[in-house]
């Protein structure tokens, strides 16, 4: 995200939406000049128009979309899901069904799955029968599974064809996806036998059998597989398009790399947000929803803060006698929390990327404890000296130094062990780790510093 200003300049002309355009459209809508706003927005790429809609205040969104004569269905596919829900709420079921029918099957499923059950029924009833069957079939698979992400339109050829037949078939105007990168070779039972890269097909002579140029080293994705695992396999094996099979092994769809990019974005975003105690991106949420979502996490945090305060309460006599302890104690807790968060973030990320495994866990724990220990000794020296001169008391310096070492070693240890333990218990390590860690570093930070001080000074 560095040097955004330069980067904005680089994008001039490449990224269709400018701040100026957003402002002009907003001003026009505010002044009731809907036609002018629609004209300004009409030439935008569907993805840019979606961005524009997202940046407008809620009431202006519908105005603009109603004002544009023919809104490309793809605009709805590009919209953030919260904004989309909002916009769709103001549309009648027939119009939504039109949009759904126009979209590719994977985008259509994404749009429909977010609707309330009764709206979903209404929209599905208004969709042409053949589309409806496919959509209902996809919706039967669990949320965030390969079955939901896949597209149903496929380019397949039987295994006894040659390159010439394949090309002739493509040219015959057969029903095919708009864009595709591989052709799936299927057996008589519609099980996938291999994939043919289009670039490979193009280079082969017409009489060559498709089975001779197909790649048999495919990864068959079960329709119930979690999308995160799908993303992992695409990344790991550099896949561009992979076949999705039902539980009998028959080919029912395909996932392309561009759909996986959305999944990767989603998953990375989830990890970032979860580490900060957020369930999902609430950027476009209304105030009430945002407040409620954040409240629950803050409530958990209040509980842990009270626990830390109870620990401080054990040492009220020491604090009354030596007020310097109250002044210094947040430093120990804060350093532990920060050091622990560093370790934790690396560990959570490494777990997600399957880099941290049972095979190397012990080695990583050892490394982090050592790193914590070395930094602990260094910061003990720095902070011990500062405290000594600040309060003119060498003992206070020694106490804070010792507590610093204890807390940073613990932070390194806990930063790896907590996410590992949560994962072992089938709890998402990105969600729970931060709060468990900071509770621990706060409690141990206050306890080691105040306890040691009470023992030495009183």
């Amino acid at each position: 995200m560095a040097e955004q200003a330069n980067v904005r300049e680089q994008l001039d002309g490449l990224y269709g939406l400018t701040d100026e355009l957003v402002r002009s459209v907003h001003d026009a809508l505010e002044a009731g000049r809907v036609e002018e706003a629609a004209r300004l927005a009409a030439s935008l790429h569907a993805a840019d128009l979606a961005d524009l809609v997202e940046q407008l205040p809620q009431n202006e969104r519908d105005l603009l979309l109603d004002g544009i004569k023919e809104v490309d269905a793809d605009v709805f596919a590009h919209l953030d899901e919260h904004v989309r829900e909002d916009v769709i709420d103001h549309m009648d079921a027939e119009r939504v069904a039109e949009v759904v029918a126009e979209l590719d099957s994977d985008d259509a499923v994404e749009l429909i799955e977010d609707l309330e059950a009764d709206e979903q029924r209404e929209v599905l009833d208004a969709v042409p029968a053949e589309d409806r069957a496919l959509l209902e079939d996809s919706l039967r698979y669990p949320e965030d599974s390969a079955g939901r992400v896949m597209r149903r339109e496929l380019a397949t050829v039987p295994s006894y064809w040659d390159v010439g037949q394949t090309i002739d078939h493509m040219r015959s105007g057969a029903e095919l996806p708009d864009e595709f990168y591989v052709i799936f070779v299927v057996g008589p039972d519609h099980r996938p036998l291999g994939t043919v890269q289009l670039s490979r097909l193009l280079r082969a002579e017409r009489p060559v059998q498709v089975t001779d140029i197909m790649d048999q080293d495919m990864r068959l994705l079960p329709a119930t597989m979690d999308q995160e695992e799908v993303a992992f396999l695409f990344r790991q094996y550099g896949l561009v398009s992979a076949p999705v099979v039902d539980d009998t092994g028959r080919l029912i769809g395909a996932i392309d790399l561009d759909d996986v990019v959305d999944v990767i974005d989603e998953e990375a975003e989830e990890d970032i947000l979860k580490l900060a105690g957020l369930r999902e991106d609430d950027f476009y949420d209304a105030v009430f929803d945002t407040t409620r979502a954040r409240f629950s996490w803050l409530l958990v945090n209040l509980g842990t803060a009270i626990v830390a305060s109870i620990v401080i309460g054990f040492f009220d006599a020491a604090i009354e006698k030596v007020v310097a302890l109250a002044i210094l104690m947040p430093i120990v807790a804060s350093m532990g929390g920060n050091a622990g968060t560093q370790t934790l973030t690396v560990a959570v990320r490494a777990l997600a990327m399957k880099e941290l495994t049972p095979a190397n866990a012990m080695r990583i724990v050892g490394k982090e404890v050592l790193v914590g220990g070395i930094n602990g000794v260094l910061f003990a020296a720095v902070m011990g000296t500062v405290a000594w001169f600040w309060f003119g008391d060498m003992v206070i310096g020694a106490v804070i130094g010792a507590a610093m070492i204890v807390n940073l070693v613990l932070a390194g240890f806990a930063g790896v062990v907590i996410p590992l333990a949560l994962e072992r218990m089938d709890i998402d390590p990105a969600v729970g780790s931060t709060v468990v860690l900071t509770t621990l570093t706060d409690v141990i930070g206050f306890f080691s510093f105040l306890g040691l001080a009470a023992w030495v000074l009183l």
Copy 2:
């Protein structure tokens, strides 16, 4: 990352590397049975073998790689860069040059750019002359630019060709990339005029001109463009392959979606790590490097913690009289820090995704202040009551409640304004935001609570 256990089962057979295999290889290497280890690892996919190498202790990595007769060059492309540096350090320049010559140009650049200047020279000298020129050319572009990420091997056709000529050319065994998804149509000056999707080419009749089926709505990527912007354009416009041009507009390379996936992963990872105060993923770093990298951030944090402690020091008289203040004060600071981090994370992410812009900044600030205010009032009620009963003093309850409202409103405001301001100053908001924010919420948290208490209670 939820339900990792189930998910591991799902991956059985699809992901080639198992914990058992890692252990067996490790045990064999430890016992000196290098041949057995090499045999176990030999059948792995290059990406899986790279993962295996990463999970082994340092000394066993070289043993294994030396033990395997012919290590696929792609293994080095898949290795984490820290591990790769380590492994390459133990190889002679000729062997590295062999690997480089075997790799695709983009992977080769990625490998070479990490080498020290003198090693880089040595390896380049050992590479065949034609490859060397291309590599040196790519290395001239700035790090993390389109020029570094692009591949040089291209499928291009002149604009006066038809579909038949194009297909015949492909079949003639012309020098082409191994895999490609589009063909670039170029004018006589080698400027790109359009792209032809292979799936479109296949469906067209032989006499059709390539210019009739080409897509002119391309995004030309300048070779100096930052890779993050490249990723943005791919995502925004659903690109699969885009042409890279030099400053005269001539086609010099192409970037494919699968290279962009690596960039997206990198950038998402950077954001996660930066928010926790880490410059880069140090999972595979040695203890010394990790310690040093984390030290600098912790030092900054120590500085801000001392500032917060100085604020507490202003109120030592109040704390001496009412020790409950020392017990309760971390709660106000902690709640502010957590609420602020929630807002900050959403804002940093929205900036990166170009969702938070000057056009909607004011609206978002207003929303976050309101969210902070509502949660502030709610937690003021909760914590005020708790404090009242804990210390049997309604005034203390009122004071902590008031301070809670002040700090949560501030946290909402600062959580958006800090990243926006840093970005305006051309400072990466992901790096600096957290430390500025927590300093602010600590200082204001302690100041509002202790200041109010001193004023009311003394």
